[in-house]
Amino acid sequence: MSTMTYLQAITDGLRTEMRQDERVFVLGEDVGAFGGAFKATAGLYDEFGADRVQDTPIAESAIIGASVGAALAGLRPVAEMQFSDFVACGFDQLVNVAGKMHYRTGLAVPMVLRLPTGGGFAGGPFHSQNPEAWFMHAPGLKVVAPSTPADAKGLLMSALRDPNPVCFLEHKNLYRRQKGEVPEGTHLEPFEARVVRAGEELTIVAYGAMVHAALAAADTFEPGRVEVLDLRSLVPLDEEAILASVRRTSKVLIVDEANETCAAGAQVAALVADRAFSDLDGPVRRIATPDVPIPFSPTLEASVLPTPDRIAEAARELLAY
């Protein structure tokens, strides 16, 4: 174990697997000697060279499409979008080529698409998005979203060994703010949810940065009342873990940093409302970012992103329901 930031854990996961598996290589804009816009690939170029740590042209479609080709040829590409927002420029290669390949042809596409996501640092409408629901609605893509340094490494290393295209959502706001113990060497985490705070009266379902907001909100209640479930994986979605928790607590609050409509949280809500209905003692509540582009000005941004206060308030209401 050693203490690392979320960002360092990502680099460590990449480095560890690149040392063990020569098929793994990294590509993206400025990921080479520069180490990437967020320094997630810092040091890799020096260790592994230009072929395994490739600077690409500004061409998101080609970054994704060429990764598909390399994966078909037996390599294990790890492609970086400089910001997850730019994935819209390569969307077609992702949803139509990568996502459908195995079902249509039997060929597998073992690739990882690293996507720095999320807001909270005045990034504005094009550097703050949370695009995961788009991927969830595209069959054939796995989607994971770690909230801690250990999970960042563990889910990344599992993604690198998965024979499918995996969208790996790394929240920019966790990069340097989250520090924690991370196992050394190979560390694999399953694509499953985890209870990060046990409680009896209400389940808060969250993932990514919102796990920390949910924990902060849970901390405002007596211990043991509010359970926080960290989804960690969105596809596959750990339905049994969600249902088990909600059936036990009988109340649920679903938190999502993404825009509200058709978000991951909507899917979780629909699941609960269908399959845990008879165990529910209150409405299925959601907190998400309203359907607006993420505004730049810190006061505006803070007014739309879910905060611990807003989560705690909704939790209070639900507990009292």
Partner: protein, 374 residues
């Protein structure tokens, strides 16, 4: 520890492969010699047979479609057969076709994909290529190094660049071959593929089927400067050939392949041709000037090659008869195939085990497979 396989051949495909040649990594001399790509009589016969076979299957496919035996839609490559056949014939067994498009059935035939499976696939029956999940020419044959196309044009060019990149990184003597139409050059992915291939010098061969039409839209509404000329803007070599001359296409792709193997980077081969049928079986292409079509009839790639081979003393009628008989047999078998089990509709969205690798395709050309030509 999993390692990068350098200069090794990929896992050979399972099952009997009557005409699979030697990996060309083992035959550098044959290749060098082949820079004058003299075709043997057997090669010519093979080329002719593939042309005839493609036409016959597609004619039968249209008929089956009109009889309601082929669901959805049906696309063919009438008049363009020489391109996919000639281009694919220039490949070695380890090369990858990514991807044949809707006018490129010939590529599948050259690589050795089973005709009965193709027919079953067209018909949406149980089949080994797509399991009924895909239709019309949207199939590949993993085991023969053929990646099936997607509809979005020309996405697969980008994927081919990625394959070529992997070949280069591993130091393998393999190329990726990708087809695209003139119309597809307008899309951003064409540019991204060309640029990436050019800047990285990837071992990829792009074959442009320039039939002057994108569905109903003629070239002058698509671009001002033709694809081959544009290649220069990417540092990509280019050459323009008569797309209705199967040997010309073959020679150009052969040269392009050697260039790629020599580390000199990508080539765009523009094959000029004419789409003699509508865009699909539903399209009577009344928007095409009948005189233009008539002017292309004498250039039919089959008729021309037939005349050439007949002159060389080949009994082409015998080839046609054999192909026809084999096809009828295949159709009969295919029509008895059951419909797919509905369970396959929801399985295999994700890969569960080890990824299957791309196998080796047939490479009947004697220069690549001297033993097969013997």
């Amino acid at each position: 520890m999993a390692t990068l396989t350098r200069a090794e051949s990929p896992t050979p495909a399972a099952g009997p492969r009557p005409k699979a040649g030697a990996p060309d990594a083992a035959a550098p001399d044959a290749e060098a010699a082949a820079s004058d790509p003299a075709l043997t009589p057997d090669d010519r016969l093979a080329l002719y047979r593939f042309l005839v076979q493609m036409r016959a299957i597609e004619e039968r496919g249209v008929a089956l479609y009109k009889q309601g035996k082929v669901p959805g839609s049906f696309y063919d490559g009438r008049g363009q057969e020489a391109i996919s056949v000639g281009a694919t014939f220039a490949l070695g067994p380890d090369d990858v076709v990514c991807s044949p498009l809707i006018r490129d059935l010939g590529a599948h035939l050259v690589r050795g994909t089973d005709v009965t499976e193709i027919l079953r696939h067209y018909m949406g029956r149980q089949n080994a290529l797509s399991h009924g999940r895909e239709g019309n020419v949207h199939f590949g044959d993993r085991a023969r190094g053929v990646v099936g196309m997607v509809s979005m044009l020309p996405d697969m060019m980008v994927v081919a660049v990625g394959l070529a990149m992997a070949f280069r990184m591993r130091g393998e003597r393999r190329v990726a071959l990708s087809f695209f139409g003139d119309g597809a050059t307008s899309r951003g992915d064409w540019h991204e593929a060309m640029n990436w291939a050019g800047v990285r010098k990837e071992p990829v061969v792009f074959v442009c089927e320039n039939n002057g039409l994108a569905y109903s839209t003629p070239s002058d509404r698509q671009f001002v400067v033709g694809p081959a000329e544009r290649a220069a803007g990417y540092g990509v070599a280019s050459t323009t050939v008569d797309g209705n001359d199967v040997e010309a296409v073959h020679a150009a792709v052969h040269a392009a392949r050697l260039r790629a193997l020599a580390g000199d980077g990508p080539t765009l081969v523009e094959a000029r041709t004419m789409r003699m049928h509508g865009h699909g079986a539903h399209d009577d292409q009344r928007y095409v000037d009948p005189e233009l079509l008539a002017s292309w009839t004498p250039k039919d790639p089959l008729t021309r090659y037939d005349a050439r081979l007949t002159e060389q003393g080949v009994d082409t009628a015998a080839v046609r008869e054999r192909v026809a008989a084999e096809l009828e047999q295949a159709v009969t078998v295919a029509l008895t195939a059951p419909l797919p089990d509905p369970a396959v509709a929801t399985s295999d969205v994700f890969c569960a085990g080890e990824p299957a690798t791309l196998g080796r395709g047939d490479a009947p050309w004697s220069f690549h497979s001297p033993e097969a030509a013997a």
